[in-house]
Amino acid sequence: MVAKLVPDNIIISDATVLINFLGTGTFQLVLQSYAGQLHVTDAVVGEIKLNRHELDAAIDAGSVVLHRVPTDKIDHLIRSFSDFHLGEASCLVLAKEKSWKVATDDGAAKRFVTSDLGAVYLMTTFDILLEMVNLGQLEKGRALDLVTRMDTEADFLYPEDEFKEFKKRLESL
């Protein structure tokens, strides 16, 4: 499949990014800020523990679109994406099929998106925060505070280089 230069304004998220925002109680802020659609799969929802009710409520309200992985496809997904969890695998497959952007902080998932879809299809927690600052939904200082909170309250995992890059981009906004 040839990657489209400009992906659809739809993001499908795996658990890594959701855990950051749900864990810090800022998930609603993301939903309010983002103009496109946010999609998740049921396997990803199954991974969420902390503040799951916020995600469930957003799904019920229609602000997050839920996709069910057909039961008879689970086996194929697990075998084809043996280096991933079912949640991540289902998210990556849908993104590839539909040409959606993928929201993930995971290195293996990022590698997959970059090589199979193109870097333009990748969004990380840092990208989302920068977008919110760019749109005037979040102040720069609060964006940095939020990273600290994600770090301590949600065990946000990121390479140090990406954090440096985030700060640089944040300053330039």
Partner: protein
């Protein structure tokens, strides 16, 4: 909406049941953990109701198994699988079968990690056995094989109290699991999928566990075309292969020279009963990590004491302690290290790491954070 069972792999329900039994949970307890009605669990296990992805993720998390575990066909149903025979043994209970399922799943994951990290660490052990002609021949073969394997491992004559680590470093997978009500002490398997692997029931004394490990190592090295063996509490030395494996274990754990040297340092002279006493024997057996009884037999075989003297010393045996507390299923340390390394190199995702470590994504994140692990840049 309840998922239909059309085109649904029926064995998923059986695997859920196996994993639940392995953790000794009731259907009620599992239902509570995954917030489903108890009849739903019953229907899922019997294949009358399919699980959806969300439920499967939650069930896997609650039962501390990777999702891939639930997609595999139970060992008992695979005709060509050597452990199938073991599972059909009268000595193997339902709980034991569940432990065998988990053992196989873990060994496969272990092997996948080694391949992913290009470690190629699953080299087969040297095969030193030959057809056994008689009981003396079985004993002689066991003794020789023990000497040869110690030489192969380059571990000299010293006691090997950490045999599990020694084996792990040489590509033999060692899985321990507590089976309190089981007759099973351990079993071993040589598989095309994952090489050599040994299971040890950790609900035994430390000394018994070490001997079981060495006994199974004996089977792995001496039984040509070894597929699987089972060691139980009630097992008598019915076959010459068992005699050979036991001799191997005794010789491997208590090398002739090392035992003799240890005794000499205590002033014990062969054939002079007055120079040896129960305290000496207890001290020596602790040096080698074996039971009092195992050391007595070794002393008989090394002609330090006679069989009659053995019987005289027997009443002074100190009972070895069972593990003080029952812990949950534990993972081999090397396996855990490999899983984290695969994550660090971004060869697996954080969700997969959680799967491999039998924890949820939150716990995996916490662990990675705790050790300051950062994934390689993409």
């Amino acid at each position: 909406m309840t998922p239909t069972t059309d085109a649904y792999p029926k064995h998923i329900g059986e695997r859920i049941r196996s994993a639940r039994v392995d953790l000794r949970l009731t259907q009620d307890q599992l239902a509570e953990l995954v917030r489903l009605p108890r009849p739903s669990i019953s229907n899922i296990e019997s294949g009358n109701r399919a699980v959806d992805s969300m439920e499967l993720v939650q069930i896997a998390r609650s039962l501390k198994k990777p999702i891939s575990f639930f997609l595999e066909i139970p060992i008992e149903q695979i005709q060509d699988e050597p452990l199938t025979i073991l599972c059909r043994s009268d000595d193997v209970s339902e709980t034991d079968k569940a432990a065998v399922d988990d053992f196989v799943s873990l060994s496969k994951d272990y092997s996948s990690l080694e391949n992913l990290l290009e470690l190629h660490n699953s080299a087969l052990l040297p095969c030193t056995g030959a057809p056994i002609k008689s009981k003396p021949d079985a004993i002689l073969q066991g003794q020789r094989a023990a000497v040869q394997l110690r030489h192969h491992f380059m571990i000299g004559e010293a006691p090997v109290l950490d045999l599990d680590n020694v084996l792990e470093q040489r590509g033999v997978k060692v899985v321990e699991r507590s089976l309190p009500n089981s007759k099973v002490c351990g079993f071993s398997v040589t598989s095309a999928d994952f090489g050599h692997a040994i299971f040890v029931n950790s609900h035994r004394t430390r000394e018994r566990r070490l001997f079981t490990l060495a006994h199974e190592l004996g089977h792995l090295t001496m039984d040509r075309d070894h597929t699987t063996t089972l060691l139980t509490d009630k097992q008598e030395q019915v076959s010459l292969a068992e005699v050979r494996a036991n001799t191997f274990a005794a010789s491997f754990l208590m090398p002739d020279v090392a035992v003799t040297e240890t005794l000499l340092k205590l002033g014990v002279t062969k054939g002079k009963k007055e120079t040896i006493n129960a305290v000496t024997i207890d001290y020596v057996r602790k040096q080698f990590g074996v039971s009092y009884d195992a050391m007595l037999w070794r002393l008989v075989n090394l002609n330090v004491i006679t069989k009659k003297e053995r019987e005289e010393f027997l009443p002074y045996a100190v009972e070895d302690a069972l593990p003080s507390s029952e812990t949950g299923p534990s993972l081999p340390e090397r396996y855990r290290a490999l899983a984290v390394e695969a994550y660090r190199r971004a060869k697996i995702s954080i969700g997969k790491l959680a799967d491999l470590l039998r924890v949820d994504t939150y716990e995996a994140r916490k662990l990675v954070k705790q050790f300051g692990i950062q994934q390689s840049p993409t």
